[in-house]
Every structure is written in structure tokens, then in C-alpha cells.
């Protein structure tokens, strides 16, 4: 007999706080529309470069981080909170720990989103993918996340249910791991209010960043939704989860394995082979728990498959879980080194990412919204037909997106590495490989429009549902057995159940599971010299090059250009010698990139003269016909900000870059001197000397430095 059946004493009455869930639902709808609109916008920009509009705030390099941040943290983030706040209260049979913390969490998170929406188009960015927000916003994220954590764990402590259901484990893992990832990856030294440099450099920064980046996918886009899956699918289907035992194995395996997989983003890079092997092997092992979870989710629908045809909640969730299975099949596949060599830096990865975010997150969010809104507004969904229409437009849109990106990615990957019988590149001109895939960019953009259109239909459907609801009634009162009575009645528990009754111990064990992989992968890179070979020819950047590098980061050049030549024949033929760890030793942040919409730039220095760069940045098509890169006209009007250049070098020196006191003291005059030299060269071709203080000059200084030290070092070795 269960404890609740044995208890005959008085019940405690309480009300759920559904107001906070409603707020997060409306925020999900708002930011979902914004994120998808931005996605469609940048998709069209790639298909037709003129849509960059020639304005600095609307270029692809600045809008792409805004799209990714708004999709992950604004759209998906608010949806997670809506699902977590609703289900946690019901699973714990209690109201949230503190209403003020709930409100603080909501408004704090929205403020962070607004701060991101303002700063990213202004080019205020750290230059680290999915962690672009500058240090004051990072601190705000940490504070608000702690507020959320206190509220969540406080709720667990005051719950009236002895058992912590599997969905809550996934929420615990999410909260604990995201906090660790965000804090460790964001540690930086500020230069000014909106500028900082990371404490990590080169290989270390790459490892920490992709440990963070991959696990942002794992613990922000995946684990909270698995929790949501384990709560909402059984509720919507009115069926218990297929196998609770499998959910235990699923949870611990997933949490333990996921954290190791980050280095699969760095295959064939300058990171040590053992790190790459580790990332690849654990990524392949992820097949096991990912598919275990998918099977558990889908088989929960056994016996109610007929409802999947008619019930929009189950329709979206079953599709979401199916796409989860597809995306988590494709991920490990892409982590196999030889497959990764073809897929990495191409649109195949972009297609894979969207199979996850649209196929899994968007579909699950739609299902959750169709479940939640009628429930908490105590009404029926306005139109099932509209929900079905949204389902089909979104599904067709996603399929167009994925298939076009597969075709584009595999086509371009094969073209990059095609070598003829005489050992020469078949497509030596990079732009040939871009022009070839442009039709696929149009198909992708059209697919995106369908996904966005579907979401607008969802918004209207939800709006009409709420409008037609009777909102006059009071919140319902519920009753449950107090927790201490449950404890008294169930003294002789053992095993996992006892563990689940202790949320703090459970959280500590989850933390340990993620720390094992994190420590083994990252600590050696921070403490060992083995990662970076010594090369005295690699020198720190000059003051002007630092200023130029910051412009490179500000314009988001890293979203289209890599700086990492892989040790393969076709890469060497196209770009030059493979990248080494020593070359990035002063790179804060590292700029290896993850996509080559344009060519790799690691060996760019000295390849062209200053005038080529000057003309290229003004209008790329002047030197590269058919280029899809935007024009950067404002770099020729705006002055390089050298006011804080001394401080920048001082901060770099504090982080370990060997600048002398004299270099720091003379940073301004040294930068001005180098700018004059570059402008004098340009003046021979008619450029006016008054251009010397403009941003384009600093950017040229940086671009002309890329790979130069490495080339000098090779030359010395040959002698």
C-alpha cells in the first residue's frame, strides 16, 4: 500500500501559480516570432547579398548571432521556463517556492534578451559562438539563473510528493550544468564597460568554448525538453511512460556521456589527437542514451497511436521526438572523423542544427503550447484545423530546410576536396563552390518562410483560444498530504527511490557526473604545456592589429570565415600549411570559426596587397566577382577607437601576453605609426592619407598579419 493511500489525516490546501507560466508562454510567442523572422532574414541575405542593406547594424555578421541567441535563449529559453514552472508545481504538488523570485526570473530574463537585442547589432560581442554577450550581461545571466535555481530547488524542498519524478531530474541536470558551463566559459577580464578579453587563449579557449557550445545544445536544447517529454507526453496521452527503468538508465548515461562530446567540433584542428578521439568516441556512444530516450518517448504512445492523427499535442510531440531521434543519429555520424572532414565547415552542419532546433525544439514547444494554453485558461483550443495547418507548413518547411542544406553541404564539401589526377584542386577558386550552392540557399529561405508562417498561425490560434476563454474564474484550490507525513509513513525505502527523495544529494551526483568529463578534458589543457608546441617566431599582435582584430570580431567575420587549416591534402593545396596550436597562443578569443561561407583566412597575410583588401572590403565583387559578402562602407568613414588601446594591451599583458611596459606605454603612437605606413602604401594607388585613422586601415593591419609568423617560422626551418 502506498503512503498516500495509508494516510487519513488532514490535507494541506494550496494554489498553483499559473500566472508565471502564462507570462512565459506569451514571451515564448513574442521571441519565437522574432527569432524565426531573424532566421528567415539572414537566410535571404545569404541568397541575395543586397539584403544586407549596406547598413552596419543589419549585416549578416551581426544579425546571425542575434538569430542564434534569440532562438536559443529567448524563444527556447522562455518555452523551457513555461514548461518547467507548470510541471514542477504539479510534480511537487506545491506552488513555486517564492512568487517574487518567479517574477524576478521572468523580468530579469526578458531584460537580458532586450540587452542582447540592442548590443549584438551594435557589434558589442565577445566573438565566441552562442556566448557572444559581453561581461555585464553575462553577470546578469548568472544572477538570474541563480534566482531560477533557488526558486526551483526551494520548490523541490517544500514539495508534497516524496518521489522526484524523472522529468525533475532532467530539470536539475539542466540548472546545475548550465550554471557551470556559463560561468566557466564566460570568465574574462574587462577592458571597458562593453569590452573584455577571455582568460583562455587559442587551444584552451577552443576547448572551453566547444565544451560550452556543445553542452549548450545538450543541457539547454535537450535535457529540459527530455524532462518536458517525460511529463507532457504521458499526460497528453494519458499513458504512463513506457519504461521507468529505461528513463533511469537514459538519464544517467546521457548526463555522463554528453559532457565529453564537445571536442567533436574541433576534429582535424590543432587540438591534441587524444582530445579529438575522446570527443569522437563519446559522441558515438551518445547514440545509445539518445535513442533510448527517443524509444521511451515514442513507445509511451503505444495504444494511442490513433490519437496522434487527431490530437495536435501528440502530433507535434511525436514528430518532435522523431526528429530528436534523427538529429541524434546524424550528430554522432558527423562526429566520425572521416565524415566530419566532409561535413565540417559546410551547410550540412547548419542543416543538422536546424533538424534539432526546428524538428525537436519548435515541434515540442508547439505541442507544449497546445497542451498548456487550453489547460490553464480552462478552455478548448480555438482551431484544431489551424494547428494541423501549422504542423504541415512547419514540417514541409523543415524538410525543405534540411534537404537543401544536406545538398549544399555535401556538394560544397566534395568540391573543396576534389583533386585531379595531376594533384591539383579541381575547384581552386573558392567562389565557384559558393555560386554552386546558391539555389539551395533560396530553397532554405523558402523553407524558413513556411516555418515562420506556421508559427504565426500558432500565435493567432493561441490568441483566439485565450480571447474566447472565460478568464473570470479564480485559481483552483488543490489539496495534498504534507511531505513530513509522507516521510513518517514511508520509513523503509531503499535504493534509487531514497536518492530521489533527496534533491540536494541527487543534484550533487548529477554535478559529479558532468564534472568527471569536464575535468579530464579541460584541466590538462589549462595546466599542461604539452598542448602548445613552443615556437619563438609566433609574436603577439601589434597595437593596431589588436584594434583591427577587435573590428574583425565586432563585424562577426568569424561567422563566415574560419582560421583553421586542417591537415589534409586539399586544405594544404587551397590554403597552405595546417594550423598549429602555437599560432593561436595569443588569440583571445580564438577565431577558428565553424563555417566557411567564405574561405579560411589563417594564411591570408601577405597573399594580397593592401589595395586588394581596401577594394575588397568596400565592394567584394570588385575583386571577387559573384561574391555574396556584404559591402563594409562604414569602415571607411568611422575612426578606429584607439582611446583604450593602452588598456587593451595592459589587459592582454595581465592575461599573460608578453607585452613590455614600453609597448603598452607607446601603444597609441605605435598604432598610429603602423596605420600611416599602411596608408602610405595605399596612397600610391590613389587613397588619401586622411584615411589613416579609419577602421579599414586597422582591419587591413590585422588581416595582413594572419599566418605571417608561421610562414616566417617555416622559412627559417627550411634554411
Amino acid at each position: 500500500m502506498s503512503s498516500s493511500e495509508a494516510y487519513t489525516g488532514p490535507l494541506e490546501e494550496f494554489r498553483y501559480d499559473d500566472k508565471i507560466t502564462k507570462w512565459f508562454i506569451w514571451a515564448t510567442l513574442l521571441w519565437g516570432a522574432v527569432a524565426l523572422f531573424l532566421g528567415v532574414t539572414i537566410a535571404f541575405q545569404l541568397a541575395y547579398w543586397k539584403l544586407n542593406l549596406g547598413v552596419e547594424f543589419t549585416t549578416f555578421g551581426r544579425l546571425r548571432p542575434l538569430h542564434t541567441n534569440s532562438a536559443i535563449f529567448a524563444f527556447v529559453g522562455n518555452a523551457i521556463f513555461a514548461g518547467v514552472y507548470y510541471s514542477t508545481q504539479r510534480l511537487c504538488k506545491t506552488r513555486m517556492f517564492n512568487d517574487i523570485l518567479s517574477k524576478l526570473h521572468f523580468w530579469g530574463w526578458q531584460l537580458i534578451i532586450v540587452a542582447a537585442a540592442v548590443t549584438l547589432p551594435l557589434g558589442l560581442t565577445t566573438g565566441k559562438e552562442y556566448a557572444e554577450l559581453e561581461w555585464p550581461i553575462d553577470i546578469a545571466i548568472a544572477v538570474i539563473w541563480v534566482v531560477f535555481a533557488i526558486n526551483f530547488f526551494g520548490t523541490l524542498v517544500k514539495r508534497r510528493e516524496k518521489h522526484i519524478y524523472v522529468a525533475l531530474w532532467f530539470y536539475i541536470a539542466t540548472i546545475v550544468t548550465v550554471a557551470v558551463l556559463h560561468i566557466v566559459n564566460s570568465i574574462s577580464l574587462p577592458v571597458s564597460f562593453m569590452k573584455s578579453y577571455p582568460v583562455y587563449a587559442g587551444v584552451q579557449d577552443a576547448l572551453v568554448q566547444w565544451w560550452y557550445g556543445h553542452n549548450a545544445v545538450a543541457f539547454f536544447l535537450t535535457t529540459p525538453f527530455l524532462g518536458i517529454m517525460y511529463y507532457f507526453i504521458p499526460k497528453a496521452a494519458n499513458r504512463p511512460v513506457y519504461s521507468y527503468r529505461l528513463s533511469i538508465i537514459h538519464f544517467w548515461s546521457l548526463v555522463f556521456i554528453y559532457i565529453w562530446a564537445g571536442p567533436h567540433h574541433l576534429l582535424y584542428s590543432a587540438t591534441p589527437d587524444w582530445v579529438q578521439t575522446l570527443g569522437m568516441v563519446f559522441s558515438i556512444m551518445l547514440w545509445m542514451p539518445s535513442w533510448g530516450g527517443m524509444i521511451n518517448g515514442l513507445l509511451t504512445l503505444r495504444g494511442v497511436w490513433d490519437k496522434v492523427r487527431t490530437d495536435p499535442v501528440l502530433k507535434f510531440m511525436a514528430t518532435g521526438v522523431t526528429f530528436y531521434g534523427m538529429a541524434t543519429f546524424e550528430g554522432p555520424l558527423l562526429s566520425i572523423k572521416s565524415v566530419n572532414y566532409l561535413g565540417h565547415f559546410t551547410d550540412w552542419i547548419v542543416g543538422h542544427v536546424h533538424a534539432g532546433t526546428i524538428g525537436w525544439n519548435y515541434m515540442m514547444i508547439s505541442g507544449v503550447l497546445y497542451y498548456l494554453v487550453p489547460k490553464i485558461y480552462k478552455t478548448k483550443l480555438y482551431s484544431i484545423k489551424m494547428a494541423t495547418a501549422q504542423f504541415w507548413t512547419a514540417t514541409i518547411g523543415l524538410l525543405l530546410y534540411m534537404m537543401s542544406m544536406w545538398a549544399a553541404g555535401i556538394t560544397q564539401g566534395l568540391m573543396w576536396r576534389a583533386v585531379d589526377e595531376s594533384g591539383r584542386l579541381v575547384y581552386p577558386n573558392f567562389i565557384e563552390t559558393v555560386v554552386k550552392i546558391l539555389p539551395m540557399y533560396w530553397v532554405r529561405a523558402f523553407g524558413g518562410v513556411l516555418v515562420l508562417f506556421g508559427f504565426i498561425v500558432l500565435i493567432y490560434n493561441i490568441y483566439m483560444t485565450v480571447k474566447n476563454a472565460d478568464n473570470s474564474g479564480e485559481d483552483e484550490v488543490y489539496a495534498a498530504i504534507p511531505l513530513k507525513e509522507l516521510k513518517n509513513h514511508d520509513e523503509h525505502e531503499s535504493g534509487h527511490r531514497k536518492l530521489e527523495g533527496m534533491p540536494i544529494l541527487f543534484s550533487v551526483l548529477s554535478l559529479m557526473a558532468i564534472l568527471v568529463g569536464s575535468v579530464i578534458e579541460i584541466v590538462p589543457s589549462l595546466t599542461s604545456d604539452q598542448f602548445v608546441e613552443k615556437n619563438p617566431e609566433i609574436k603577439p599582435y601589434s597595437a593596431l592589429e589588436i584594434a583591427g582584430r577587435d573590428i574583425y570580431i565586432k563585424e562577426g567575420c568569424y561567422v563566415c570565415h574560419s582560421q583553421q587549416v586542417r591537415p589534409q591534402v586539399s586544405e594544404k593545396l587551397r590554403y597552405g600549411s595546417p594550423s598549429t596550436a602555437a599560432e593561436s597562443v595569443y588569440d583571445r578569443p580564438f577565431q577558428w570559426g565553424s563555417r566557411r561561407i567564405g574561405p579560411d583566412l589563417a594564411r591570408l597575410g601577405g597573399k594580397y596587397n593592401h589595395m586588394w583588401h581596401y577594394r575588397h572590403m568596400l565592394d567584394p565583387r570588385e575583386v571577387t566577382p559573384k561574391s555574396i559578402m556584404p559591402n563594409y562602407g562604414w569602415l571607411y568613414k568611422k575612426k578606429t577607437n584607439l582611446k583604450v588601446i593602452n588598456k587593451k594591451l595592459k589587459v592582454m599583458a595581465a592575461l599573460g601576453v608578453p607585452y613590455t611596459d614600453e609597448q603598452i606605454k607607446n601603444a597609441y603612437s605605435d598604432a598610429a605609426k603602423q596605420a600611416t605606413e599602411i596608408t602610405k602604401e595605399l596612397a600610391k594607388d590613389g587613397v588619401q592619407m586622411k584615411m589613416q585613422d579609419k577602421q579599414i586601415i586597422a582591419l587591413i593591419a590585422y588581416l595582413q598579419r594572419l599566418g605571417v609568423d608561421k610562414a616566417r617560422s617555416e622559412l627559417k626551418e627550411m634554411k
Binding site: S2, R245, A480, H496
Partner: protein, 54 residues
């Protein structure tokens, strides 16, 4: 001291250590989840969330 240890250590052994760690955790969870009496408990838990809220 720490630097010396890392400098002389063969780091390529770490993937094997990682795999062993996971194997131990996985086998541990498997044995744990199949412990005696767990079946009834899991049934009770998974049916629990479907109970009508009072």
C-alpha cells in the same frame, strides 16, 4: 609539481580512463535499476503522475 606531473604524463591514456569511468557508471546504474522489488516501485511512480489532481 603539478606542471611536472602533467608535462611527463602520457595524456593519451585519458580517453581510456574516460571509457572505464563510463563503463563503471553504466554497469552500476544497470545493476541498480534491476534491483529486487524495483519493478513494482517503477510502476507506481510512472502511474503516479496520471493520478487525478485533488
Amino acid at each position: 609539481m603539478r606542471k611536472e606531473v602533467f608535462a611527463n604524463m602520457d595524456l593519451s591514456v585519458l580517453p581510456s580512463i574516460g571509457l572505464m569511468c563510463f563503463l563503471l557508471v553504466f554497469v552500476g546504474i544497470l545493476i541498480w535499476s534491476y534491483r529486487r522489488g524495483s519493478k513494482d516501485l517503477y510502476e507506481e511512480i510512472s502511474n503516479g503522475i496520471l493520478e487525478k489532481e485533488k
